[in-house]
Amino acid sequence: MVQDLMKKFHEAAVSPRAQMDKYMAEGKKIVLTAPVYTPEELIHSMGFVPMGAWGADMELNRSKEYFPAFLCSIVQSILELGIKGAYKGASAIVIPSLCDTLKTLGENWKYAVDDIKFIPMTYPQNRKPDYGIAFTKAGYERVIRDLEALGGKYDPAALAESIRVYNKHNAVMRRVDEVLAVHPEITAAERSDIFKSAYFMTKEEHTALVEEFLAELGEAGEEKIGIVVSGILTDAPQLNQIFDEFGMHIVADDVAAQSRQYRTDSPEMDDPLEALAVKFANMDNCSVLYNVKKPRVQWIVDTAKARGAKGVVVVMTKFCDPEEFDYVMIKKACEKADLPLALVEVDRQMVHFEQVRTNLETFRDMLTM
C-alpha cells in the first residue's frame, strides 16, 4: 500500500504537464508560482490552481537570449520552459522579487513569453516591522488586481478558508518530515517525490495523500547514515540516487523547495490578507529572507543535533548568491559544532554527477571510517 502511494507521489512529481492538463480539462485555470515564496493561498482562494514552476533539468538554449550564462539555472530553465511552450495554457505566472535573478526573470518573461501573464510579487527587504507588513500586503493587493483581470474574484471569507487548507497542508508536511526522520527505508528519491508532488497537486489532494501515507507507514527500517540536506533544490534524480546508493538517510532538510515552504502558518486574524502578510513577516531561516542575525545557520546545526544527523550536506545551486553568502557561516558553525559538512554543486544542466558521487562517497567514508 505504501508502494502504491509512493507511485502516486512519483507520478505527480514527474508529470507536471499531465497534472496541469488534468486540471485544465476540469475547467480550472492554472497560475504558475515561481520560487521561492508566492501567496499561493491567495491564488487558491480566487479560484485558480497554483502550480509550482521551479524549472526542470534540461539543456538551456533559448533562455540564453535573455540571460548571461553565469546565472542561476533554475531561473533560466523556468524561462526556457516558458519560451518552449511547456507551460502553455497557464493563465499567469507569479514571480516574487526575492533575489536579483528572480527580479530579472519577471522582466524577461514579459518579452519572452507573451501568452502567459507575468504577475510580480514585490516583497520588502524588512518584512517584520509594521511598515514591512503593510508593504507585503500592498504587494498582495497588486496580485489580487492582476488575478481579477483574469477572471478571479477576491473574497476575504474564501481567503480565510484557503488559509485553513494551506495551514493544514503545512502541518501534514511538517509531520511527514518528522516521521521520515525515523524511517530510513523511505529513500531520498521517495522523500523528494513526496515534497515535489505538492507543487503539482491541489493542496487538498496532497494533504489527503500524505495523511494516507502516514497512516500506512509501517515499521522503521534498518538504520542508515543520517544527514541534513540544505539548499534551494535537491530534486535531481541522480543526486537522490547517490544519497541512496551510499546509504544516506535524510533526517531533516533545509531545502527551499521542501521544508522551508511549510515551517510557518498564517495566524488567525480578522483580516486574512493581513494574516498572510504577517505569515511572510514571521517566516525565517532562509537565504532569501533577510535577517541580519542569520538564525538559519544555528537552525541547521540545532536541527542536525536534534535529529541525530552524522553530517550536513549543502547542495549548492551554482551561481545562487544568497546561498553562497550563507554557506561560509554554515561551514563555520558546523565546524564549531564538530558537525562534518560536505558541499556539492548542482545545476539544472548537469548531466554527469561523477564529481558529486566522488564527493559524497568520500563524505560517507569520512563519517563511517
Partner: protein, 263 residues
C-alpha cells in the same frame, strides 16, 4: 595477505601490490586512464615486475575516476579516501594532502589520528590541474616533464591568469608574441596552478605536515610556488603518483582484516 590497489585516473593508470598492508611489493604506472588500454597495460606491467601470480591476490580495490567502469576488482573506493590512506602510509604524521591530478585538484585534511576530517574538490575546471599544464606545454611545444627544469631558469615569472585555461592560453600566446622568455612563461604557468590550488587549500585549512600527490606533484616549480603561497613546507615522495593505488591496496587489506575479525 597480498592486496592489489588500482588507481584509474583521467590520464594515467597505477597499480600497487602490497603484502600484509605494510610492504609495497610492486608498482606500475602507464599513461592512459579511463577508457584506454592504460589499466590493462599497467596490470600487465605489474605482473611482469612482481614475483607472484594474480591468483595470489586476496583482494583488489579500484579507485580513481575510472573506478565505476572497472570490473575486475572486489570493490571500489573514492580516490580521496585512498589518497588519504596512501599519503598517511608514506608520511605517518601527514595532516594535509594536496592532490593535483590530470583533471582535478583535491585537498584532504587529516586529524592527528589520521582520520579524514575535511576535504575540498575543484569542480569541472581545468585551471589548477594537470590538464592546465598539459595545454600550456602544448602551446610551448614542450614535454610536460621539461617544465620543471625550464621554470628553474626563470628570472622574472610572467603573470598568467589562474581563472580559466582558455583565457590563460590566449595570455601565453600574447606573452610569447611580446617576447617574454620561455622560462619566465613556464614559471608563471606553474605559479598560476599554485595560486589556484592554494586558494582551494585555504578553504580546507592547511596544517603541517603537508605533502603533494598526483602527477603534478613531480613538478618542483609548482611545489615551490605552492609552498611560498601557503607559507608551509610541502613534502614530496617519489611514490606521490601512487598514493591512490597504495591507499586502495591498504583499504583492501583493512577489509580483509574486518572480514577475518567477523569470522
Amino acid at each position: 595477505m597480498i592486496t592489489l590497489g588500482i588507481d584509474i585516473g583521467s590520464t594515467t593508470s597505477k597499480c600497487v601490490l602490497m603484502s600484509g598492508g605494510e610492504q609495497i611489493i610492486a608498482s606500475s604506472l602507464r599513461i592512459g586512464g579511463l577508457g584506454t588500454e592504460g589499466p590493462a597495460e599497467a596490470l600487465s606491467d605489474l605482473w611482469d615486475r612482481a614475483d607472484i601470480a594474480p591468483s595470489d591476490v586476496s583482494r583488489t580495490i579500484v579507485t580513481g575516476y575510472g573506478r565505476n567502469k572497472y570490473e575486475g576488482a572486489d570493490g571500489e573506493v573514492s580516490e580521496l579516501t585512498c589518497h588519504a590512506l596512501g599519503g598517511r602510509f608514506i608520511f605517518p604524521d601527514l595532516r594535509t594532502l594536496i592532490d593535483i591530478g590530470g583533471q582535478d585538484a583535491k585537498i584532504i585534511s587529516l586529524s592527528e589520528a589520521g582520520r579524514m576530517s575535511n576535504f575540498v574538490m575543484n569542480d569541472k575546471c581545468a585551471a589548477g590541474t594537470g590538464r592546465f599544464l598539459d595545454v600550456m606545454a602544448g602551446i610551448l611545444r614542450m614535454d610536460i616533464d621539461e617544465l620543471d627544469e625550464c621554470a628553474a631558469q626563470s628570472v622574472s615569472p610572467a603573470s598568467i591568469s589562474s581563472t580559466c585555461t582558455v583565457f590563460a592560453e590566449s595570455e601565453v600566446i600574447s606573452q610569447l608574441a611580446n617576447g617574454v622568455s620561455r622560462p619566465d612563461l613556464v614559471a608563471g604557468i606553474c605559479e598560476s596552478v599554485a595560486s589556484r590550488v592554494s586558494a582551494l587549500a585555504r578553504r580546507a585549512g592547511v596544517v603541517p605536515r603537508v605533502c603533494m600527490s598526483g602527477g603534478v606533484a613531480k613538478n618542483g616549480a609548482v611545489r615551490k610556488a605552492l609552498s611560498e603561497s601557503l607559507g608551509v613546507d610541502i613534502d614530496f615522495d617519489p611514490m606521490a603518483q601512487y598514493f591512490g593505488a597504495i591507499g586502495a591496496a591498504l583499504y583492501a587489506h583493512r577489509q580483509l582484516q574486518k572480514l577475518s575479525d567477523n569470522k
